[in-house]
């Protein structure tokens, strides 16, 4: 297959990172608000935020994995 088309496809797949980034930004802003409202719960909020970020990040990671797999398996 044409390597240029594969590269374009891989680039589109990595666009999932945009959604993940927006999601992570919203989560972080909410966490900031929560900390400002209740500074004594910072530890708990941090923990939940980190788990949430890791889960949101995995969306971007799926796109990354797909693009990498596209490049490595189709390009051969």
């Amino acid at each position: 297959m044409d390597m240029g088309l594969i590269a374009i496809g891989a680039g589109i797949a990595v666009f999932t990172g945009m959604g993940a980034g927006i999601g992570m930004g919203i989560a972080t802003s909410k966490a900031c608000e929560a900390v400002a409202r209740q500074p004594e719960a910072t530890g708990k909020i941090n923990q939940v935020l980190l788990i949430g970020l890791a889960l949101a990040e995995s969306t971007a990671i799926y796109g990354f994995v797909i693009s990498i797999i596209m490049i490595f398996t189709m390009g051969k």
Binding site: L55, S58, I61, Y62, V65, I69, F72
Partner: protein, 226 residues
């Protein structure tokens, strides 16, 4: 500059066998942990005192942390106490094998086969716990919730669990590897200090985070179904 391949390098051992280097690393990690366990069980544990100190503190913290972690998600009881050693295994395996990356050996978690294996174990465990605590009928009934027409969606989502687990762990670990390789490639001969700092985030932090997320998701899926 070359990006590391999704598929790890192959080596030939024992004449005809062709295996990937990550598999060897995984078995090496297991062997090392077992050797440490043997030494711990038969030499160190004998010298344990009632007042903890040094290594004893670390081990107590580890076991108690795993116990607390499992009971915080699955509730106190038989489920949590039976899953705790498996959680400890996942943590030990992923973190110990991930630390190999500091020595320049590719971690097994950056191999798709390894993460698929781990996810399959989780998949089997979910079904096993469901059958163990609900019976075969109860397990089959979980697919018909809340209504019978939901069966295909439920089956699909239960199959999606191991795939998403495998891809999440693999993607995170592999992205860390790729970023580190890119950093080394970009800095060329000036790669002093900065990659070490970056590797703390991309290897240590990702490692801890992802093993935590993996075990937490494993337990919450089991808790949900069991």
């Amino acid at each position: 500059m070359d990006i590391p391949s999704v598929f790890p390098d192959k080596v030939t051992i024992f004449g005809g066998w062709t295996v990937s280097t990550t598999l060897i690393a995984a078995f090496g990690t297991t062997l090392a942990i077992i050797v440490f366990g043997l030494i711990f069980r038969f030499v160190i544990l004998k010298n344990f005192k009632r007042v903890p100190k040094g290594l004893q503190n670390v081990m107590e913290l580890m076991v108690e942390g795993v116990n607390k972690f499992s009971t915080s998600i699955m509730g106190a009881g038989k489920k949590a106490s039976s899953i705790a050693p498996y959680i400890m295994t996942i943590f030990g395996f992923i973190i110990c094998s991930g630390l190999l990356e500091f020595m320049g050996i590719r971690s097994p978690a950056t191999d798709l086969d390894c993460t698929i294996g781990l996810a399959l174990i989780t998949f089997v465990l979910i079904i096993a716990y469901s059958i163990r605590f609900r019976g075969v009928k109860g397990w089959l009934k979980t697919y018909a919730e809340p209504k019978a027409f939901m069966v295909p969606i439920n089956v699909l989502s239960s199959v999606a669990v191991p795939i998403s687990l495998a891809c999440r762990l693999f993607g995170n670990m592999f992205s860390g590897l790729v970023v580190m390789d890119m950093l080394y490639g970009a800095m060329g001969y000036f790669a002093v200090g900065v990659p070490a700092l970056a590797s703390i985030y991309f290897i240590l932090f990702h490692l801890g985070m992802q093993s935590y997320v993996f075990s937490m998701l494993t337990m919450s899926f089991i808790e949900e179904k069991a």
